[in-house]
């Protein structure tokens, strides 16, 4: 179908995007790799101009040998996994509900997607102070109203709280994509199934869910990429304490708090490796849905 002419034109048109992204990837990546083999402690006076000492794999060994490393990988996977499960399950249910005819559809849709427009910093601040504060937060008021002892959310249920805040932000995104998919569902097929006496649960399991599988794949893929690097939500709320130190946050502590750029860069390389493992894993499980 495509002529030789249009093929070369196509390459030309793709070039700016590819070249830009290649540069955006390669330049920082090369520098990160370079730093990761160097002793680079800027507060001790190390700088590029003065030249950095080569330390081999010392930074890599130290980063992975730290007692914080494996817990941080675990925290990352739990938070990403938790948010994915919540947003996908609630997203599917919400999408089906919002697809039903009811009064005020437009307004309710607006209400549901609104959290997506809120800056992560703002949402973390609002949740932390006005909701989860154990003395003045609205949840504390609610608990006391029912005679219960207020919960110190950010220390006693820290990981769950972070999952909840992030889920609140990403649920609208999942719902929106799933809603478009639900809307494209063939209603005649559903009616036919209903005539045949299929229960709502069976209809959901055998017709709706398979239809949504591609949309779910997209949601998982896109969200994973964003969730692996969540930062503001942790920085503002727990500062990485109480088991919420993700790999991204650990790197932040090495680079910014400890000002050890070499060590942080080695961490960055590990983060890329982890992200790619997750990505390959995802592709294996859900990749075939993408090709359809």
């Amino acid at each position: 179908m495509a002529t030789q002419h249009s093929r070369s034109a196509a390459r030309l048109m793709m070039a700016p995007a590819v070249v830009l992204l290649l540069g955006w990837m390669l330049v920082p990546l090369t520098m990160t790799l370079f730093f990761s083999f160097k002793k680079y402690l800027p507060l001790r006076g190390d700088s590029l101009e003065r030249g950095l000492d080569w330390v081999g794999f010392a930074n890599y060994v130290r980063f992975i040998g730290s007692s914080s490393f494996w817990p941080s990988v675990q925290a990352t996977l739990i938070i990403v996994g938790g948010v994915l499960v919540i947003t996908v399950v609630l997203g599917v249910l919400l999408a089906i509900l919002l697809d039903q005819p009811f009064w005020g559809q437009g307004i309710v849709r607006i209400l549901v997607i609104a959290p997506f427009f809120v800056m992560p910093t703002v949402s973390a601040l609002v949740w932390k102070n006005m909701f989860m504060d154990p003395v003045n937060g609205i949840l504390a008021h609610l608990w006391r109203f029912f005679g219960a002892e207020p919960v110190s959310w950010l220390s006693d249920a820290s990981v769950q709280s972070i999952i909840m805040i992030v889920s609140w932000q990403w649920l609208p995104f999942a719902t929106l994509i799933l809603l478009t998919a639900v809307q494209s569902l063939d209603s005649e097929q559903l009616e036919a199934a209903e005539m045949d006496g299929a229960s709502p649960l069976m209809r959901f399991w055998h017709i709706i869910l398979p239809h949504l599988s591609r949309a779910i794949t997209i949601v998982i893929l896109i969200q994973t990429i964003f969730l692996l690097s969540i930062f503001a939500e942790i920085f503002v709320t727990t500062g990485g304490s109480f088991g919420t130190r993700t790999l991204t946050y650990l790197i932040f502590q090495r680079v910014v708090d400890s000002q050890n750029i070499g060590l942080g860069s080695a961490g960055g390389v590990y983060a890329i490796i982890l992200a790619n493992i997750v990505a390959i894993f995802l592709m294996r499980i859900v990749g075939k849905n993408l090709d359809r």
């Binding site: 402690l41 110190s152 950010l154 220390s155 500062g239 088991g243 130190r245 502590q253 910014v256 708090d257």
Partner: protein
């Protein structure tokens, strides 16, 4: 953009004839504390006097520290003045990143700066940052609750007394906690508080050979004391409470005592914000009779990064903001209780300021702090609630995270200390100390 630039140029031209020197626009990075916000409100006074205009970059403390540190280490040159603390100043000064403030004008009277502050903001005897305000820590307590408990606060209490009073004042039914203390992770938050507490129990961060000391009994004693006290008399969820959270609690009348920065005294006695403004008493930070009190020393100070093109204007600003005149300006408009405290000797000699209820106790607390000799046992470092080495911020943040997890009951004190010991030694090894 173009019109704004030309407008700016026009203003600059106009000012050229009125002002003494070339008018410039300086960019200042600062922290969002009340005194700094107030200073921003008076920028017009500075502009009227010198012709220079000011662009403010106001950030929350953690974001500010991250921003200015990256800027200074990468030679970003985005700021003409940075607001930094007593921890950063000597380290940055030693690296040659700050312009020495050794040629300030005679009217500025640099010798009037409190000796403790001047010492903490110098490296090798050269001043690198001018203190905007300084603080130590002290006990703030509710006189009414103390009386109701049948106790009397001495001017220099012991931890034993604090613990007894805290337990006596606690009234959970009515939402009153005997004592509110910092438990929040972060080297400048709960990390600072537990470090000074440990100092008064005879503990230290490092021995003379830079070996971490968390395996020593003093640390266990201090930490167990703190955890026990807070469990009996502290507010719920104290492991996430920092300065600001405790300030809110105290202002709402939910704390019997609060041991924290001396600058908080003006907030808790301000009737506009505080419900307990007329019932607050002050005392020195407690000790255990070993010779060291649990009070720290800190200053927020203004420094000029080396490499700025606007050194002269920046110096003019620093001289204005940390001057005696600025203090008088604030006093005239907002009362003596609201002036930036803890920086100048003359302030504490001023009879007007001596009438402020917390003035004397603040000065006494500052004078009781000795950064060069912070602990009972000898140490190789300078600094009371911090260790003035570049690695400290990173290490102490992680250590305080382990402690906070212990406060929240997620691990035992022993486990926290064990992890602190290991991670501190590891980081010191990475930095080449051991």
């Amino acid at each position: 953009m173009l019109s704004r630039a030309s407008l700016g140029a026009a203003t600059a031209m106009a000012l050229l004839f009125t002002g003494s020197a070339l008018a410039e626009t300086i960019t200042i990075a600062t922290v969002n504390n009340g005194d700094m916000i107030r200073m921003q409100g008076y920028t017009d006074d500075f502009t009227a006097k010198t012709g220079h205009t000011v662009e403010w970059v106001t950030l929350e403390e953690n974001v500010l520290r991250q921003r200015v540190t990256t800027d200074i280490t990468t030679k970003g040159g985005q700021f003409d003045i940075m607001t930094i603390g007593m921890y950063e100043t000597p380290i940055w000064g030693a690296n040659g990143w700050l312009i020495p403030l050794d040629d300030l004008s005679a009217e500025y009277d640099v010798d009037d700066i409190l000796p403790a502050m001047r010492g903490g903001l110098s490296h090798d005897g050269t001043l690198y940052a001018a203190p905007f305000y300084g603080e130590s820590s002290m006990v703030m307590y509710r006189t009414d609750l103390m009386a109701a408990a049948g106790l009397e606060m001495p001017d220099a209490p012991t931890w034993e007394f604090i613990a007894e009073a805290a337990r006596a004042m606690t009234d959970r039914e009515n939402d009153i906690n005997g004592v509110c203390l910092r438990g929040k992770a972060g080297w400048g938050e709960g990390g600072a508080f537990i470090t000074v507490t440990a100092n008064s129990f005879g503990a230290r961060w490092f021995d003379e050979d830079w070996n971490a000391q968390f395996d020593q009994p003093e640390w266990a004693e201090a930490l167990n004391f703190f955890v026990g006290l807070m469990a009996d008399a502290g507010p719920p969820g104290y492991s996430t409470n920092g300065f600001n959270e405790n300030l809110s609690l105290f202002q709402q009348g939910k704390c019997g005592m609060w041991i924290d920065a001396t600058v908080a005294a003006s907030f808790v006695t301000n009737p506009n914000d505080s419900t307990v403004a007329d019932k607050v008493g002050f005392a020195l930070a407690p000790d255990t009779g070993l010779g060291k009190r649990s009070n720290w020393l800190w200053a927020w100070a203004l420094a000029i990064p080396a490499g700025t093109q606007k050194e002269a204007a920046a110096k003019e600003f620093i001289e204005w903001a940390t001057s005696k005149e600025y203090i008088e300006l604030v006093a005239k408009n907002e009362g003596w209780a609201n002036v930036p405290p803890g920086a100048r000797t003359s302030l504490y000699e001023n009879p007007e300021y001596q009438k402020v209820p917390f003035a004397q106790m603040t000065l006494d607390s500052i004078n009781a702090a000795d950064p060069t000799n912070p602990t009972v046992k000898p140490v190789p470092y300078v600094g009371i609630q911090f260790v003035a080495i570049p690695e400290f911020a990173g290490i102490a943040t992680e250590v305080s995270q382990e402690f906070s997890a212990a406060y929240a009951g997620q691990q035992t004190v022993e486990e926290a200390l064990e992890k602190a010991q290991a991670l501190t030694n590891d980081a010191m090894e990475a930095a080449g100390y051991r």
